[in-house]
Symmetry: C2
Subunit: 409 residues, 2 copies
């Protein structure tokens, strides 16, 4: 236990130091110098551990231990190596390190597995440098479209293609076959919420990734003088917005888990103390693990909004600009992960993920499930992102046992 604790602490400190920024966070964007340094560093660790390592065309890194018996069956684990700007030390990278450590421990303790064990350190998930998410996992499954990237550039004007070439990589060679040997994918990640912390759990088995719908809604009423316009004359869009939010969130609270509803952005016009706001733009983010529930709830809220606005003589335009279906994890892999938690006597629970992860690209294509470890204060995408090392260790132990179950039996 002491060795694992030290390994986890040392590895997290080492990897999050590559791209450490002055605020105490880590900024490691796709194809940047720090990104190259991190992938090469992880490669060297895996080389040193006796893994067979290689990059694919676009820069996903792999570290492989060959199986003795089922040579065309691979059990894979990993996550992404990139971070958001001024991000934390765990999001993504802990999943890479945990996979490396787990497979290293298994190899040391049990020797060659029956099935291949493979780490994947994915090139990109966050969409923080270029306006594109899941570049790593989508390329692994041949889902990324080369043509989409032709005109993509980062916030400094560097073209995606030039950044990729600069890091020594290129678009996927589409003549190469896609892999059909992945029999399981297990990702471990921080929760990025407070459920585990509040419940005093060390680990979770994730059985689903919530679907999400995001909207931008614009209300058009009438701008009026705040002093000279009687209440009965007004078409006050902040009042309409407030009625919508109050009613919608009251409904969402009544339904409760796993439904969440957020009105994160509000922009009235002219946004000044003495003018009744004639226009208000706002966003709505709704998530649920059940697609039918997500659709019926958002349809009801859309209708409510229209009714509220119609009663007030206010025009409404509703733009649904993101509509991602929920992604269920594989029931068999989930049961393997749960079995491990029970056997090891871990203080665990089963839960869904409200945030997106690489596993949502894997899950529809190969049997997939996830572990979560707690996030202190639920904080993520922030230099304060942290997890107790004891909990990270519990996560690595659970992952190790799960990979043992999947690759050695």
């Amino acid at each position: 236990m002491d060795k694992i604790f030290q390994d986890v602490a040392d590895n997290v400190a080492w990897l999050s130091g590559i791209g450490a920024d002055p605020t105490g966070g880590t900024t490691r964007l796709l194809y940047s110098d720090y990104w190259v340094e991190a992938q090469q560093g992880v490669k060297k660790k895996m080389d040193d551990a006796g893994f067979t390592t290689y990059f694919d065309d676009i820069g996903n890194l792999f570290g492989r231990v060959e199986g003795s018996t089922y040579k065309d069956e691979t059990i894979m684990s990993g996550s992404h190596i990139d971070t958001v700007v001024n991000g934390g030390k765990l999001d993504g990278q802990f999943g890479v390190l945990a996979a490396y450590l787990a497979i290293k421990y298994l190899k040391e303790k049990h020797g060659q597995p029956l099935r291949n064990l493979e780490v994947i350190s994915m090139a990109e998930e966050e969409g923080s440098r270029f306006p594109y998410v899941f570049w790593g996992s989508k390329n692994f499954f041949g889902l990324a479209n080369k043509d989409e990237m032709a005109d993509v550039a980062d916030f400094e004007g560097v073209k995606f293609v030039d950044a990729m070439h600069g890091a020594g990589f290129d678009f996927r060679d589409e003549t190469k076959p896609l892999r059909d040997d992945i029999k399981a994918f297990v990702e471990i990640h921080i929760e990025q919420g407070k459920v585990l912390e509040n419940e005093g759990k060390a680990v979770a088995v994730v059985n689903s990734i919530a679907g999400q719908r995001r909207y931008t809604i614009v209300l058009n009423g009438e701008s009026n003088h705040a002093g000279t316009t009687p209440m009965s004359y007004r078409k006050d869009t902040v009042y309409a917005f407030s009625k919508i939010v109050t009613q919608s969130i009251d409904k969402a609270k009544k339904i409760g888990d796993p439904l969440v509803l957020t009105f994160g952005k509000v922009e009235p016009k002219p946004n000044t103390v003495n003018v009744v706001p004639g226009e208000t733009l706002f966003t709505m983010d709704c998530r649920h693990t059940d697609e039918a529930e997500l659709h019926s709830f958002t349809a009801e809220i859309e209708q409510d909004m229209k009714t509220i606005c119609a009663e007030m003589g206010i025009d409404i335009s509703i733009d649904l600009w993101m509509d991602e279906a929920p992604v269920p994890m594989d029931p068999h892999i989930v049961s393997v992960l749960e079995g491990v938690c029970k056997k090891e006597g871990l203080n665990y629970r089963v839960m869904h993920s409200g945030a997106g992860h690489d596993s949502q690209i894997f899950a529809p294509r190969v049997p997939t499930a996830m572990f979560f470890v707690p996030s202190i204060g639920g904080i993520s995408h922030n230099p304060a992102e942290d997890t107790k090392t004891e909990d990270l260790v519990e996560g690595v132990k659970a992952l190790t046992e799960a990979l043992y179950e999947l690759a050695y039996k």
Copy 2:
């Protein structure tokens, strides 16, 4: 009638042309070249009409017709000559022109009045160039404080004192006595609201200027990930804001005229689609003509806000940064104005003003009342600010008859 119509149309076109800006509006800021041109232009018109004209120290312009009998009694009318940036053609300046035309007509038709009749074209009311309002009227009553202006500068860095000197004026000589001869002040102004238009009235007699309280309120809850934070864990400040607004405006609507309540500015943080807003700043503007009602309503709303926030575990800070008492108009002058409307068969009503005017500085000190003429669409402080010339003419006629009642009887 045709002559008045032409006079009104010509004078409004002429005066609003001084400082006309490319958007079709008028920008005539205190002590600017256009401001000097406008005051000098009005002075010349009054000189030509045989008025005795003069400026006071700070640049208020006066045009006087001496009375024959009550030489220490003056009936005054006027408004302000300055505009907001990109303002309209009537706010303030119509009151100056109407006073000039009314006294000119009276002099032409009835000769010398019993009491002095005097136009005042006030230097400033809007606070649009320097952060100071009612510079003209406050100086007339010796209420402006010279020391306050020492470090005041406009948005281009020009110091108030230098702008004033540049226009040929200086601070009020405080050794000069203040006037005690004003027996009545009557101001005519556009309504800046839609009440007269909606009711098809040509003119209003104003019996009160509403008091107003302005607040900035900050709610502090907790910023959370919109996907990973169950509804029951949230301290969502946009939800708290929405409950406050819904409940408060529902109450304000139930009470109705003359109470108005506006939440004009809303600024959540971080103001992005996928984060539960941990902080929300907003403003509240509340007005009423009765001080006790204004105080008791805002006290109730303040308590409601605290209750809503306490229930949600959200901190609230409430800053009342403007607290102006209502200003009642003089009942006798109001009755004189109403009597004129009845006698002339005007389509009028009595109403309060929800906006501030020079009359609120006059009313506590000399017997004061106001006329309103309609604003098309309620629009003001905007190039589209307008009133039908027929309605402006009705206003000038009403003012003329009111000044006759006050100065010739």
